[in-house]
């Protein structure tokens, strides 16, 4: 059944009337006075049911590694400051690197840095208009992730050997 409703525009709050069959979320009116109807669209925010392409994985990992790096800096700056404070401080930090915890933090920081850097470079290349198509976008994301895994393995070899 059609019924006449009066609705407010979401942007300028002017009122418009019209006949609408379905529930209307929002009315948007352009500067020419024409009113367009924004239909209710299905929204799925359940990440466990969304299949994420490589580009999405690369993107979310770039954010996660960025936040992780910010907190890793606390350890890095502490170790840096302690190692420069005195010969004793230097030996203390050097001694810590015989243990697993310091080694793991260092490896984690290096791996996360490598990932953030590699995907960051990919991002800069995309800014210049490359790898924006479905295929090249996905393959460059996959290559960036694979490269970071290789660098993470190399970093592990460096730290534990």
């Amino acid at each position: 059944m059609k019924k006449q409703v009066y609705l407010e525009c979401a942007i300028c709050a002017c009122r418009a009337s019209g006949f609408y069959k379905n529930k209307v979320d929002e009315l948007l009116c352009g500067q020419d006075g024409q009113v367009t109807v924004k239909k209710q669209r299905p929204v799925n925010l359940d990440l466990t049911t969304i299949s994420m392409p490589a580009t999405a994985k690369a993107s979310i990992l770039h954010r996660v590694t960025g936040v992780a790096l910010f907190f890793a800096l606390t350890f890095v700056i502490w170790a840096w400051s302690e190692s420069l404070s005195s010969p004793e401080g230097f030996e203390l930090v050097k001694g810590l690197f015989n243990g697993f915890v310091a080694k793991f933090i260092a490896w984690g920081t290096l791996s996360v840095l490598a990932y953030h850097l590699i995907v960051g470079i990919r991002h800069l290349i995309q800014d210049m208009g490359h790898w924006e198509e479905l295929e090249s976008g996905n393959s460059s994301a996959n290559i960036a992730i694979a490269l970071s895994v290789i660098v993470a393995i190399l970093a592990g070899v460096w730290i534990w050997s």
């Binding site: 800096l73 190692s83 420069l84 404070s85 010969p87």
Partner: protein
């Protein structure tokens, strides 16, 4: 325009450019430090202190820390505005994280001062 420059308010274009220019500087510094550690298998206190007593290295370190502060201010703001819907919590988190980034710069300044 003058008014715009006189305030601390940022805009999208400014964020876009700042994020990328600071990223390049941080990347260059990270490659330099990791490269130095890779090429120095037996690092001694004297060599380590000698590196950071060099004025150019001091300047590069401080510049990088300031770049990290700018980069994280923009990056963490992007993450916070996307995932933290409560504006009070978002403001508090943003404040604390920006304070941390400023503290990193302050600590860096005093460490470099003492070397």
């Amino acid at each position: 325009m003058v008014l715009n420059q006189a305030t601390l308010k940022r805009d999208g274009v400014q964020d876009y450019v700042s994020l990328r220019t600071t990223a390049l500087i941080i990347a260059a510094y990270a490659v330099f430090i990791v490269g130095y550690l890779l090429l120095t298998p037996e690092l001694t206190f004297e060599a380590w202190q000698g590196l950071f007593s060099n004025l150019a290295v001091k300047a590069a370190t401080l510049v990088t820390l300031v770049c990290i502060m700018v980069h994280t201010t923009i990056g963490l703001w992007q993450v916070l505005t996307d995932y933290v819907k409560c504006s009070t919590l978002r403001s508090v988190l943003g404040f604390v994280l920006n304070l941390m980034a400023l503290a990193y710069v302050a600590i860096g300044l005093f460490v470099l001062w003492g070397v």
